[in-house]
Symmetry: C2
Subunit: 298 residues, 2 copies
Amino acid sequence: MSCDKPRNKMGLTEEEFLAQYDSGNYERPSVTVDMLIFTVTDVESDNYRKLPEKALKLLLIKRGDHPCIGQWALPGGFVNMDESLEEAAYRELKEETGVDKVYLEQLYTWGDPDRDPRTRVISTSYLSLTDSSGLDIKASDDADDARWFTVTYRVFKEQKTMDGENKTFERFSRLTLQHENETLSAVLKHTLKTEGRLSRWETSIEDPGGIAFDHARIIAYGIERLRNKIEYTDIAFSLMPRYFTLTELQQVYEVILDKELLKANFRRKIANRVEETNRYKKDAGHRPSKLYTYRQEF
Amino acid sequence: MSCDKPRNKMGLTEEEFLAQYDSGNYERPSVTVDMLIFTVTDVESDNYRKLPEKALKLLLIKRGDHPCIGQWALPGGFVNMDESLEEAAYRELKEETGVDKVYLEQLYTWGDPDRDPRTRVISTSYLSLTDSSGLDIKASDDADDARWFTVTYRVFKEQKTMDGENKTFERFSRLTLQHENETLSAVLKHTLKTEGRLSRWETSIEDPGGIAFDHARIIAYGIERLRNKIEYTDIAFSLMPRYFTLTELQQVYEVILDKELLKANFRRKIANRVEETNRYKKDAGHRPSKLYTYRQEF
DNA sequence: ATAATAGTGTCTTTCAGACAGTATAGT
DNA sequence: ACTATACTGTCTGAAAGACACTATTAT
């Protein structure tokens, strides 16, 4: 982006200024993207009549080198000098999953000076949602393993303290990530800080539980955003295949929100985001259900 | 944050690894923070009976050097190697306004490779809201002027096109910033991009209108966030003084949302976020109004 | 008295939550 | 026939929107 053509105090035009501009010897941080790649998959059931349950899954990579060697981390990597943050995010996503046309949204940028013991790393996190069909997981260079972990994130303790002017509000939540015999269980502490008339929540990691760097916190932030956004946007549909039943859609909402919904109310709520087809899903020992598609709102 | 103590493939412990770690000669981007500092001020009226109107104001700085010399830009600056992004934002805020206990929220990180003609600059934008009383504006080093501009941001054209499978949705909005005889007027184009079943809005600058770099877009993004958040959070109160009338509070909502609200409904809506006092504002030729304070929700 | 604002009451519509009911495939 | 799910109808209460009404001060 270039601007006008006047001269500055040293009598230089913009071209002259840029030609002599020395980007300097200032130390600069490294910039990376961290990817939260979510999907929802079926958990097969035993009973031939019962529908498969669903589970929210997150892709993690086992670190093959220091720091945090052997721990599980979010996929991600350095931003190249000639690509935008979003391009870097798409590139990482494609490298990890082989998928490219998915929902992608910038989440937050994490910039504490000591997030990474190697050097100053500023990292922008991205949330991506993909339909679980057609996923292809590759291991990337500096990681020896990539796995989908089942995600649970739940508040387990809340403390209100009010003595006179001093008020405290603390909330503890547990983030559990499970894959076969591997279980990661981090604890996060949320504190309501009040300064004067202003107050805001601060989150810290009480126990990383085997999750590398500050990634437990990033994951928690991502899940909170996902839970908020599923209520007032259509992002849930980026987790669905082309055709789906309303019960499947409801299960996706339930597994993300971590609570049960009433069928009749749910159907009323999503009625106009959804288009009926004349296909049916003929399953097991019960009434077949109509298949629907996503209806774009305009 | 340090992790475990095993050895990597080269037989190094974490300490050994970090001691030999060379942060490398990779080129790195510069990282900056850009500050959107909003406040709401009174616009004095002529009629002794009438209440003063309110205006939403944004702090801009006139660029004193290339690039974009003479244009108006968001205050901001480089992030030091030993401070977090948020610390940098607080520092810039304090430098510009002298205020420090204000609402501050990270907005978005802008990372297009060509945002700045000097070098690759990745910039995290922060939204801050301050009560207009007790503001103190200083000019900073590389800017010769800092001014509060009145903000207007409004959609002025909408185009739906539907021919068969090809659908387009374009929306144009104008961002106007006014200060005395200076008027900046940028035009932004929002396009609904649809790829397969996914769609999302993309925003581009049609006309920067005298606003430096990509700051018109950043400002527009900030206003949109402000408009959203004022509906479901209490951020409006960080624009209010300790004591305020409900009409003043309503005016703040109206000036941010750019629409009029019905008094009775507004009062019902904010009733439980607000605490009655026994003070009154005794003004001009009309009934005095009760003063309220913010009631913290717990 | 009047202008301008302060403040309240209530009607309607919409929507979320709860729950009870009917329908229908596969074994 | 039975099981598990598919799907619908309706009651309730809360909240949003619209609007009309009363109250009170400085000039």
